[in-house]
Symmetry: C2
Subunit: 248 residues, 2 copies
């Protein structure tokens, strides 16, 4: 059982079809698929919704519709409302990241809900009363009005990250051992002298600079092979040049 399957996104009276579609996509990107709409409007442009849902059309079509928020979250334990306003009992808010930990704990055994209000008027006090938690999305005090799908994205993203499912791509190449690294540096050392890039006196200083540049991040075996090849080629060219000099 996937924890994220227990998370329901609830949109209350959304105005724009485009936003509903974008919300489906935002949910899907974060492994969340249960969408409920409270009081769908007759004026909603569902073609726009389908267009903006992209490959998340299945989620859009599978949405559940309810006439009240209470019905939409009837089977949920934790019910979190997002709210930009502060005021009467809205002061004790959680950040999306803080809430993710609380929400996932409940989602182990129960359905939970993330509730988002109307684009223009948010949630009413009556709707907020049904919610157990309030989420406040950090945003610049100069511009606090978020697009609906952006608000959904951030909340779903924090739940997805907290669920610990994501496996980031990792460097597939083997990290280079000291042995491989030093063999490579030895060729560079030789090349620096042979190309007459530096004198013996300055060699250690130059090598230290090079070591710092090359080993600032993880150096892999293929990285070492490229670097080794490059220095060897430069040595070969130097050899040709010196031969030519002798021939002349």
């Amino acid at each position: 059982m996937n924890l994220l399957d227990n998370i329901r996104v609830v949109l209350v009276e959304p105005i724009f079809g485009g936003n509903i579609g974008s919300v489906c996509r935002a949910m899907n990107n974060n492994g969340i698929t249960d969408l409920a709409i409270v009081k769908p409007r007759e004026t909603t442009d569902w073609d726009d919704a389908r267009k903006l849902s992209c490959n998340a059309k299945a989620q859009l079509e599978a949405r559940k519709e309810f006439q009240t928020l209470e019905e939409a979250v009837a089977d949920c334990t934790v019910v979190a409302a997002t709210s930009a306003r502060t005021g009467f009992y809205r002061d004790t808010a959680y950040s999306p990241k803080e809430f993710a930990t609380i929400g996932l704990e409940s989602a182990k055994d129960h359905k939970i809900a993330l509730v988002f209000g109307r684009e223009d008027k948010g949630l009413t006090n009556e709707e907020l009363a049904v919610c157990t938690h309030i989420i406040q999305i950090p945003s610049s005090e100069l511009y606090t009005s978020l697009n609906l799908s952006h608000a959904v994205y951030v909340c779903c993203y924090e739940m997805y990250c907290a669920a610990g499912i994501f496996q980031p791509s990792e460097e597939k190449a083997e990290e280079a051992s000291t042995d491989i690294r030093e063999r490579m540096f030895n060729v560079w050392r030789e090349m620096m002298i042979e190309t007459e890039f530096t004198h013996e006196q300055k060699l250690d200083h130059m090598m230290m600079g090079l070591r710092r540049i090359f080993t600032r991040g993880k150096l892999t075996v293929p990285d070492c092979k490229i670097l080794m090849g490059l220095a060897k080629q430069s040595l070969w060219v130097t050899e040709q040049w010196k031969k030519k000099d002798t021939n002349d």
Copy 2:
């Protein structure tokens, strides 16, 4: 000097005006205002861009335009590309949160850039080559294609959070001291007996339940006043009822 003023969002050949507008709004929500567009398309619907930028129109109008990515980031030190694909040298990617720390460190003294590719084709290998870091946004392996403004939102949100500027709303009401809390519990205790809700034998057990319920979160002074008033009123009603009983 605000750290966030040193962050530039660069969109390479974006297709949809609506996305460009949404990106402006996403940036503004997170206190980031420097927008650059590489190779703007003649087919872009700028009316749509203006509509979706909402109150971030000023940012949209102030955008800079360039013919190459190299020109757009010429003055930047750290240049981070977002990339969904993995492959040749794209394996060592940072999460938006990891990158936020690295990026802000450089943004103390230098301009840095967040680069986003075309909606359909992302960034070319030549464009990726100009970048110093790759950001991979955690997303469900079942659905990894993000809307452009959602990708921008998450990256800007992590930078904004990491900048530590945001002051969350806090409970303004004073937290209740033990003294106030215990006076309130004493009235409930009396009320439980007077209303004949429970017997003396079960009183401690019931009180423990009530204490657990009321003090699970922070209990404020106004909370205590509401609870105290409620119990007192119930005591008053009980008194009236008992008087009436005596009068009958």
